[in-house]
Symmetry: C2
Subunit: 337 residues, 2 copies
C-alpha cells in the first residue's frame, strides 16, 4: 500500500529528527577548541602540530593508532607535588592514624618527627626514613584492604596549603591534554615513581586513566589463601622503583611499546624523555616547568624532593618542549577564577 | 519552499537506504553463532551462560564493561605445549644458530646435549640447565634486537612433529572464545609463565591481544645510552617469574584489576584460577584438559614439563569448567579437516 502524503511527511519528519539529533550529538567534539586552558603560545601550537602530523594518514610522521602511546609522569606533571608529594601526605596522615596502636613511635624516629609535625626533623632521616615510614603504612595488609584505605583517604584528605581536596590539585591544562590526545586515538598512561597501588584507586576519576594504564613503583606482594579466600598480602619489601632509568624499564615491562608522547617535570623523567626519541618516527617530549609562584609554586632547578637540572639543560638541544606554567596556562587548577 | 512530492520521495528513499545500510552493517555480528568450533556440549553452554549473565544489565551477575577482565594462560591453553614449550623450541634453535660463535659449547653441558639433539641428556640437567640456555639465548642484546630475532624466528620455525608453523599451532576454539569475550566487552589478557618479550611480537597476530595486554615472566633490563641512542639491554638475570602464585601477583602488578574470567591448563594456573573467585561477583574459571591423542596430545595429570593434578582434583568442588578437548571441540587447529 502506497503511503498517503501525510504518512510520508510523518516518516520523513522522524528521519530528519533522527538525523539532526545524530549531527547534534557529534557537534560538541567539533565545536569545542581543544586545550581551552592553554594560552595561544608556541607551546600549544607545538603540541597540536605534533598531534595533527601523527594522525595525518599518508604523512611522513603518521603513526598507526595502536602505536599512539602517551606516558605522563604524575607528581608535578599531572598534580601538584608541593610542599611535598601527595603520597607523603598520605604517609603522614597514616602514621598519625596508626599511632595509638604503636606507642613506641612517640620516641622512635622517623615516627617521632612525624607525630610532632616536625618535617625538618623528618628530612634529617633522609630517604631511609621515608622508606621506613612507607613500609609501616603501605605493607602488612592485603591489596584489597590497602585499596580501601587509599580510596577512603582521598575522599577527605586536603592539601596542607590550599585547603582544597588533594583530588582537586590536578592541573586542568594537563587533563585537557590527556583528553585531546585520547580524542586523537592515543592511549594514555601514567608512568610515575609513586606507588602504583596508591594511584590506581583514583586515576580513572581524576584523569580518565584506568588502573591497567598506570605504571609505578611496586612493593612485593605474596599470594595466600586465608580461610579458603585467595588474597595478596603486601610485604614490606620494595619490588621495583619506577624512577629515572627505571621509567623506560617500567614502560617496556608493563606496556611493551615505545611511547611517542612523553611528559615529565624533573630529572627523574630524564631517561623516559630520552626514550621518546627511541620511537620511529621520533616521539614528542615535554617538560612542565613550575614558574608560577602565585597560582602554584615556583621552583626552578631545585625543589625539596628532586631537581630539574640535566633535563632542562638538554631540552633545547633535544627539541623538548618546556611548558612555562605561568605564561602558557590560562588556568592551573579548575578552581582558579 | 515546500518540497515537491517527488523531492520528498527522493529524500525519504535516501534516508531509508542509509538506515538499511546501518542495519546490514550490524548484521554479521548477529548472524554468526559464537564458538562455531565448539560442540554443543555443556562446556559451551556454561561459558555462554556466564557471558550472558555478565552483560545482562540489571541482572545479579552483571559486570560493568571496565571490569570485564579475562586472562588466559598461553602454553597448553592457547597453543600447544607438546612435545615441549614453543619457547624451548626457540631456545634449541638459537643454540644451534649461535654455536659457531661458541666452539666451547660442543663439549659443555647443557649446550652439548642440545647440539647433539639429545633431549634426554638435556632433561638430566634439570631446570638449571634450561635457565642457563635461556640466559645464553635471551640476554646480552637490546630489547629491540631480541624483538627482531623473535619476530624473524616465528616466520619460519616449525613444530617438530606436525611440521606446521608454530604460529599455526594455536587452538581455534580458544581463539573463538577470545573473539566472543571481546565481542561482549571483555578485555582479554595473556598471563603466562613464558617470557613476555617472547610472546609480545606475535600475540596481536595470533590472538588479537596487543603487547600491553601480555603479562609474563621478565628478565632484568637496564637503560643505557649508546652513541647518544637510548636502549634497553637485556641482562642474564631473572626479574619476575609469572607462574603459580606469581600469576595473581603478575595480574595485580600489571593489570591492577581482578579477572572475572580465567583459563588455564595446569597446576601452574591453580592460584590464578583461585583468584577468579576473588572478584565480585565471583568470576568464571576453566581448565583446558588435553584428552585428544589423535588431533593433539593426550596427557592427563602429568606431562614432561608440568602437571595438572591439584587443579583437576579441586575443579568439581570449586565449580571450575573442565573442557574436554576431544569431546567439547569440533576442531582443535584451524588446519584440521
Amino acid at each position: 500500500m502506497r503511503s498517503s502524503y501525510r504518512d510520508v511527511d510523518t516518516i520523513l519528519a522522524s528521519f530528519i529528527v533522527a538525523f539532526v539529533l545524530m549531527v547534534i550529538g557529534a557537534l560538541p567534539a567539533l565545536a569545542q577548541e581543544p586545550l581551552p586552558s592553554w594560552n595561544d603560545t608556541a607551546a600549544k601550537s607545538r603540541i597540536m602540530d605534533f598531534v595533527k602530523a601523527t594522525v595525518t594518514e599518508g604523512g611522513e610522521r603518521y603513526v598507526a593508532p595502536e602505536d599512539r602511546i602517551a606516558v605522563f609522569d604524575n607528581d608535578g606533571t599531572l598534580w601538584t607535588e608541593q610542599p611535598y608529594y601527595i603520597q607523603l601526605g598520605f604517609i603522614l596522615d597514616r602514621v598519625k592514624t596508626l599511632a595509638p596502636e604503636h606507642p613506641e613511635w612517640k620516641t622512635k624516629e622517623p615516627f617521632k618527627s612525624v607525630l610532632e609535625g616536625d618535617l625538618k626533623g623528618l628530612a634529617k632521616g633522609g630517604e631511609m626514613g621515608i622508606v621506613e615510614l612507607g613500609m609501616a603504612t603501605h605493607a602488612g595488609m592485603t591489596t584489597d584492604h590497602f585499596n580501601t584505605i587509599v580510596t577512603d583517604w582521598f575522599t577527605t584528605a586536603k592539601h596542607p596549603e590550599t585547603g582544597k581536596l588533594y583530588t582537586e590539585m590536578t592541573y586542568l591544562p594537563m587533563r585537557e591534554l590527556l583528553d585531546y590526545l585520547r580524542a586523537n586515538g592515543f592511549k594514555t598512561y601514567i608512568v610515575s615513581g609513586g606507588g602504583v597501588e596508591f594511584m590506581r584507586p583514583v586515576t580513572e576519576k581524576l584523569y580518565g586513566i584506568p588502573p591497567e594504564q598506570v605504571v609505578g613503583s611496586t612493593i612485593t606482594t605474596e599470594f595466600a589463601i586465608v580461610d579458603d579466600v585467595p588474597v595478596l598480602n603486601r610485604l614490606p619489601k620494595i619490588d621495583f622503583v619506577d624512577d629515572g632509568p627505571g621509567k623506560p624499564v617500567g614502560i617496556n615491562k608493563f606496556i611493551g611499546r615505545k611511547p611517542i608522547f612523553v611528559a615529565g617535570n624533573s630529572d627523574g623523567d630524564y631517561e623516559m624523555l630520552r626514550w621518546a626519541a627511541a620511537a620511529k618516527p621520533p616521539g614528542f617530549a615535554m617538560i612542565v616547568h613550575h614558574t608560577d609562584g602565585v597560582r602554584e609554586y615556583a621552583y626552578d632547578r631545585q625543589s625539596s624532593f628532586g631537581k630539574l637540572d640535566k633535563a632542562l639543560d638538554e631540552a633545547e638541544l633535544r627539541n623538548w618542549l618546556v611548558v612555562d606554567m605561568k605564561n602558557d596556562w590560562k588556568k592551573i587548577f579548575a578552581f582558579n577564577q
